[in-house]
């Protein structure tokens, strides 16, 4: 009962929500990237879970692998942007990244 589909999905949902909360509340660009990683991991966990409890084949695993790959690429590019912004503006505060508004 404890290691059932529902328990994994609840864990996944919880991670997802914490990721959203991080994105919405933290003020550092890096912290927001952390939140995105959490959300991606929640999704990946869902894929593996359904692969295990559902179809029994390994397509979910492969999907998770690709998610990891894409997340790595996203983290690299995102952090590069953050560092570049810090070099140019001396800040990574999310509320000050609003050049388009002006």
């Amino acid at each position: 009962m404890m290691m059932s589909l529902a328990s994994y999905l609840v864990i996944s949902a919880f991670l997802f929500l914490i990721g959203i909360a991080v994105i919405l509340s933290r003020k550092s660009l890096i912290a927001i990237l952390l939140g995105i990683e959490l959300i991606l991991n929640a999704a990946a966990l869902n894929f593996v879970t359904y692969s295990r409890f559902g179809s029994q084949d390994l397509d979910g695993h492969i999907m998770t692998l690709f998610i990891i790959v894409v997340a790595a690429a996203e983290a690299a590019v995102g952090l590069a942007i953050v560092i570049r912004h810090f070099q140019l503006k001396e800040t990574i505060h999310i509320d000050e990244v609003s050049q388009l508004k002006e």
């Binding site: 959203i20 994105i23 919405l24 509340s25 999310i94 509320d95 990244v97 609003s98 388009l100 508004k101 002006e102």
Partner: protein, 719 residues
């Protein structure tokens, strides 16, 4: 011989290609490309020679070749709007073609000598080629529109050749004067073309002849004048402008500012002859329009008036210029009195001897660098070849027997006698032959005067005389003169004396008389136009018959009395022989032997002399009255009308009306539209206060909104 693209087109295209090559590459070619122009015109001459001998072989007065191809066709439904281009060659066109290409070739050769080292050498040959090709195109053209195009190209070229030394004020003014004066005639000519187009929808020669024969023009009137008269008059106005007839003769003497070979081409062989060529082409129209007496009077006035002015000129080119106008007057007179054949023969013979005279003048001017006759004299020892050639031409222009002038001019005068005195027409018409004969007295006199002042007697200015080098025969300088002076002999044209000896013109005596005849319009009804292609499928089915010469006279009356005409010719010939020889002797006595002093005569008849020197005050009249008083006065009136009437009443009044509406609209704008706009602004402002808060530029706020939306959407779908 087939008349196709490959046999006809080269006549026009070789000089034209020479023009194109010289215009774009002339500066890069050796000798500025003058050899390109020469080769072009020589090839053109060879091709026209072929056509000429083919026509001579046919020996049929009525033979002609008419080929067309479609230029553009904008016909919609029943309304036909179609213009064909093509060639129309009859005996007259072929003879004219040979004359143009031949004389132009010799002028090209002479120009190579005359213009060598000149600073406008390349430019001169560019325009020479274009000019020649335009003249050839004009002769080949099968309709008035195409003729008009080439006519205008020639006008432009003569403008450029006269003003070739454009940095001289006089040259620039002269070119402008020539251009503007001929423009007066050209505008009317264009009007005539349009009138014909409006009536028969075509300007082909054959269609016009056909329309005359079928009477299409009858009962059509333009501004109350009969269509034929109107069209004939306007087209003849083109002739007046181009051939420097009274009253538009003023441009030709000033046009002597150009280089002398250019004058030879413009004023002898081509452009001025083009005017007469046009009138000869449209002769049936002139006749049908009853315009011939008018033409005869214009010609007689010009022939006599120009001859009198030539008597007192000091510049040798000016003498030639006025003699040109005078001879052109004879041609027009010939057209007027119906002496079609003789008038056209005079076009040809005049082209030859006048080209020779101009080139001789060029030779003299180039040798002594002086063209005022009082400073010349005794040059016959230094310039013997030029002297001999010029003597031949002088005899020709004077109408001495055995020379061409006698053959052509005296036939014109003979016809004039019959037309004016013996045909029983209006007595006032007798003025025409009288003026013609007075001109015929004056012509040998002033030509001999010119010859005597230049070549005979003692040198008047020793410095100028010493400056002149003894001349030796040179190919480019003298060959054209010699060839042209050979052709001043009458035998080549009359064939009467030694016709049977010359094999080409053969046993056919008086070839010129027989071949050239006014087009008989009745022959042109029911003709089929053959198209101009690369192969000549349609062969002329016209039978080759030995033609005979019949007289035509320029009035609608009973058939000319053959006996009377012969009588008139006999009287005219005897009279002009005596007048010419007597006049030459008198002139020789006056200017060489000095039996009387011309200056004394000038003092005695001082008012007449002054009038002649001032060219009958025509220039002053045009400048002082027509331009200053007439055109400028009209200008002032127009300007007053514009400023005083039009501006004050219409423009200002309209402005007032507008001003009222503007104020009305302004009030409406201020009160109504603006308050609407303001209301709009207020509404926007209210929303702005609300929505501005939402647009924070902070991404997390947007995310919150996004997730809220997500929640609501989920809520809607799940519950």
């Amino acid at each position: 011989m087939d008349y196709t693209v490959s046999t006809i087109a080269p006549i026009f295209l070789f000089p034209f290609f020479a023009f194109v090559i010289n215009a774009f590459l002339g500066r890069k070619l050796p000798k500025d490309g003058n050899w390109v122009s020469l080769i072009g015109i020589l090839l053109s001459f060879v091709f026209s020679l072929r056509v000429f001998f083919d026509f001579m072989g046919k020996y049929d007065t009525n033979f002609y070749v008419h080929k067309v191809f479609n230029w553009f066709d904008l016909s919609v439904g029943d309304s036909v709007f179609k213009i064909d281009l093509g060639i129309y060659l009859d005996n007259m066109a072929v003879v004219m073609l040979l004359m143009v290409t031949g004389v132009a070739s010799l002028i090209h050769i002479f120009s190579i000598w005359y213009m060598s080292g000149d600073r406008r050498h390349g430019r001169f040959f560019v325009f020479l080629s274009l000019f020649t090709s335009a003249m050839i195109g004009l002769v080949l053209a099968n309709n008035l529109l195409l003729l008009f195009i080439f006519w205008e190209i020639m006008g432009f070229c003569s403008y450029s050749l006269i003003g070739i030394y454009y940095e001289k004020d006089k040259a620039g003014d002269a070119s402008l004067k020539a251009f503007m004066t001929t423009r007066v005639g050209d505008v009317l000519f264009l009007l005539g073309i349009l009138a014909i187009w409006a009536v028969i929808g075509s300007v082909d020669y054959v269609d016009i002849y056909k329309a005359i024969a079928e009477g299409t023009f009858e009962s059509v009137t333009v501004m109350g004048i009969g269509m034929t008269t109107f069209a004939a008059f306007t087209i003849f106005c083109g002739n007046i402008g181009k051939s420097a007839q009274f009253p538009l003769q003023v441009w030709l003497p000033d046009a002597m500012m150009g280089p002398t070979p250019g004058s030879a081409l413009i004023h002898a062989a081509t452009m001025v002859a083009a005017g007469c060529y046009l009138s000869l082409r449209m002769y049936p129209l002139m006749e049908a329009g009853g315009l011939t007496p008018f033409i005869a009077f214009i010609g007689a006035i010009t022939a006599f008036g120009a001859a009198t002015i030539a008597l007192v000129q000091k510049d040798l080119k000016a003498v030639l210029a006025y003699s040109t106008i005078s001879q052109l007057g004879y041609m027009v007179l010939g057209i007027g009195v119906g002496s079609y054949n003789a008038a056209f023969m005079h076009v040809i013979t005049h082209a030859i001897f006048k080209a020779c005279l101009f080139m001789s003048a060029g030779s003299i001017i180039h040798s002594v660098h002086e063209q005022m006759m009082p400073k010349l004299g005794g040059l016959s020892k230094k310039l013997p070849i030029t002297f001999l050639c010029m003597v031949a031409c002088t005899l020709a222009i004077s109408g001495v027997p055995f020379f061409t002038g006698f053959v052509s001019k005296d036939r014109i005068l003979g016809d004039a006698i019959y037309w004016g005195m013996m045909a029983g027409q209006n007595k006032a018409f007798a003025i025409v032959p009288i003026l013609g004969f007075l001109g015929a007295i004056l012509t040998p006199f002033y030509m001999t005067r010119m010859m005597c002042l230049i070549f005979l007697g003692k040198p008047r200015d020793q410095h100028v005389y010493d400056h002149c080098h003894q001349e030796h025969f040179s190919l480019t300088q003298h060959l054209p003169l010699v060839i042209l002076s050979i052709f001043t002999l009458g035998v080549f044209f009359s064939g009467a004396l030694i016709g049977e000896w010359v094999p080409v013109f053969g046993a056919k005596q008086e070839w010129f008389k027989v071949l050239i005849e006014a087009p008989n319009v009745n022959n042109f009804v029911d003709t089929i136009k053959s198209s101009f292609g690369f192969s000549d499928s349609v062969t002329s089915s016209m039978s080759v018959t030995k033609a005979t010469y019949t007289h035509q006279l320029g009035y609608f009356g009973p058939n000319p009395d053959e006996h009377g005409v012969h009588q008139a010719h006999f009287i005219g010939a005897i009279l002009s022989i005596f007048l010419a020889i007597g006049s030459i002797i008198a002139s020789y006595l006056v200017y060489v032997r000095g039996i009387t002093d011309p200056n004394k005569w000038a003092n005695t008849f001082a008012p007449v002399y002054r009038t002649l020197v001032n060219k009958y005050y025509f220039d002053d009249f045009y400048l002082g009255v027509v331009i200053q008083k007439g055109l400028l006065g009209f200008n002032k009136f127009l300007s007053w009308f514009d400023m005083g009437v039009y501006d004050r009443i219409f423009i200002d009044g309209w402005a007032k009306v507008n001003f009222f509406f503007v104020r009305l609209a302004g009030w409406f704008d201020d009160k109504v539209i603006d308050s609407l706009v303001d209301l709009n602004g207020i509404i926007v402002k209210i929303f702005n206060v609300i929505f501005r808060k939402l647009q924070t530029g902070r991404i997390q706020w947007y995310l919150v909104v996004m997730f809220f939306s997500l929640v609501f959407i989920n809520y809607y779908f799940l519950l």
